[in-house]
């Protein structure tokens, strides 16, 4: 295959990465934007989403599409519930103090990873895709499912945007983001809003994992890369800016796809990691965020 089509393939792979990354990162961005919490366990929520999808596919009889549909609903709900519980039991009690919160989420990460290791095991296990039809392009065949993932991610992100901008729940969330104390004075139950936001952030990561797991496999350590990439996206895009997150996800997803195809993935990760550090040092507001973040 000549260079042109090869590049096209890399870009399409990059788009899939970007789609899933956008979903995952938006969860992280939401939590940081509204709660000012850096959730180091975000990758663990992602991993749990995939692991639950595997369990569902094992236990649910019938065609894989059925199990997949069930996972899309069950997974984010369970992961969201775990997140809400963590928030209420732990994070709230710490008063969301930044350093304490990070230490607590590190602890949560260890606990969740251990749970997955104990219940799911150390091996990587595949989850069947709901359907498998191939789109035949002139130069190569491409998985129709992957294209469906891109579409699904766009739909879900649109949904998130709609919720934030056009529903009462979204209004409440945005109000709490702007001024927690004033929101409380207006009768908004900030504790419940925070639990809900934390759950929503985790749920988004879980759904992203359900979408990607038929392509990758489920593994108890699979949360590491999405966590790092989400961090990169959210920081470069600007903490608290959903639009920045989306643009950065596109940028990074595409470049990750291209770089990983042409260079060693480890080198790509080194560059990406250093990029995050240097952006934070020299331009902490990222591309779209405001200085106050």
């Amino acid at each position: 295959m000549s260079f042109g089509p090869f590049l096209l393939l890399a870009l399409m792979e990059g788009l899939v990465t970007a789609a899933v990354l956008a979903l995952t990162a938006s969860g992280l961005s939401l939590v940081f934007g509204i709660m000012r919490v850096v959730n180091v366990a975000h990758g663990a929520f992602f991993m749990l989403g995939a692991v639950i999808a595997w369990f569902v596919s094992e236990w649910m009889p019938g065609p894989p599409a059925l199990a997949f549909a069930a996972s899309l609903i069950v997974s984010p709900l369970i992961v969201g519930a775990i997140a809400a519980m963590s928030d209420t039991l732990v994070l709230k009690r710490l008063n969301y103090e930044p350093e304490a919160t990070i230490v607590a989420t590190i602890g949560l990460l260890y606990i969740l990873e251990q749970a997955a290791l104990s219940l799911f095991g150390p091996d990587a296990r595949p989850v069947p895709a709901p359907f498998s039809f191939r789109l035949q392009l002139p130069w190569f065949g491409y998985s129709g499912y992957k294209l469906a993932v891109i579409v699904a991610a766009i739909v879900l992100l649109l949904g998130v945007w709609l919720i934030l901008k056009h529903t009462k729940a979204g209004l409440v969330m945005r109000a709490t983001q702007i001024d927690r104390d004033t929101a409380r004075a207006f009768g908004i139950n900030v504790d419940r809003v925070y639990a809900g936001v934390f759950a929503m952030g985790a749920g988004l990561a879980a759904i992203a994992a359900v979408l990607i797991v038929p392509i990758q496999q489920a593994h108890y350590l699979m949360g590491g890369d999405p966590l790092l990439l989400s961090f990169i996206v959210v920081i470069i895009g600007g903490l608290g800016s959903l639009r920045g997150t989306l643009v950065a996800a596109l940028l990074i997803g595409l470049s990750d796809g291209v770089i990983s195809t042409f260079f060693a993935p480890t080198l790509a990760k080194i560059v990406a990691t250093l990029a995050v550090a240097l952006v934070l040092v020299f331009r902490p507001q990222g591309l779209f965020g405001n200085r106050t973040a």
């Binding site: 710490l94 749970a115 104990s118 990691t273 934070l280």
Partner: protein, 313 residues
Amino acid sequence: MTMGRALSLHLGVLAALLALHFAAPAYHHTNIARIMVLAIYAMGYNIAFGYTGLLSLGHALLFGAGLYGAGLLVYHAGAGAAGAMLAGLLAGGAMALAVGLLALRTSGVAFMIVTLMFAQAGYLTVLYFGAWTRGDEGIVIPQAARAIGSLDLSDDGTRYLVALTLFAAALLGNLALVRSPFGRVMVAMRENEERSRMLGFNPFTVKLAALTVSGLYAGLAGAAYGLMFGYVGASLASVQYSILPLLYVLLGGAGTVLGPFVGALLMFYLIDYASAVTDAHQFVTGAALVLLILFAPKGILGTLRARGARWLP
């Protein structure tokens, strides 16, 4: 002043450890040697975090600098253990200085993320240059290199005493530091940076100095760990080894001199016993972090100090 009581306590701990050398069975002997080296690492972390208020999530980079600084010198250049340990010490300090120059331009959450990122980049670099570092597989330090003069570091007894010597130096150095004028400035910077600034102290240089000293400790610990226990591998520079000193310090008491050792001792054995009972020892680490930060953020010695033992340094 209260220096007398504090010094006696610390010398007492060292004496007890010396006594253990003769009394402890072989299994615990090696464990305590390991714990002492890890405690040096944790003390270094404490200087940055407990005393100066710099919550770094990237100390594995400094530990790893010492580890690989010493390990690579021995493996590729045939250096002796003493020289390698010195190199590791300096490598840790130099790395801390380099990272600090950049990372200290940020603070709080950003600082945590930046240090985490630098450490991750370091870990990945070790993997990337696997041809030299043998990556995940690691380097087994040749027997011949594990000797300082006539002291064979692979011998349990010798190793314990060498570890104790290093630990004693680190402990007493730490005590001297925190009681010194500079130690006072470190604490002031943690307590109220604005006030410290308006008293004439440059926050950047104070923090950089504290971080560099922290790096020297971490580098020494990394070098000693590799040379004494004969293995230099990427896993020892992974994010796990950035979390461990934080955990030890939190448990033992941040901002106390003996806290890191107490935390290392307890946590080591806690995980040890948990591993014997179940495979789920990561759970212990995670639960410990959550419970500590929720209910006992001052740690054991920190809580003791707050409850009356004000003289505890």
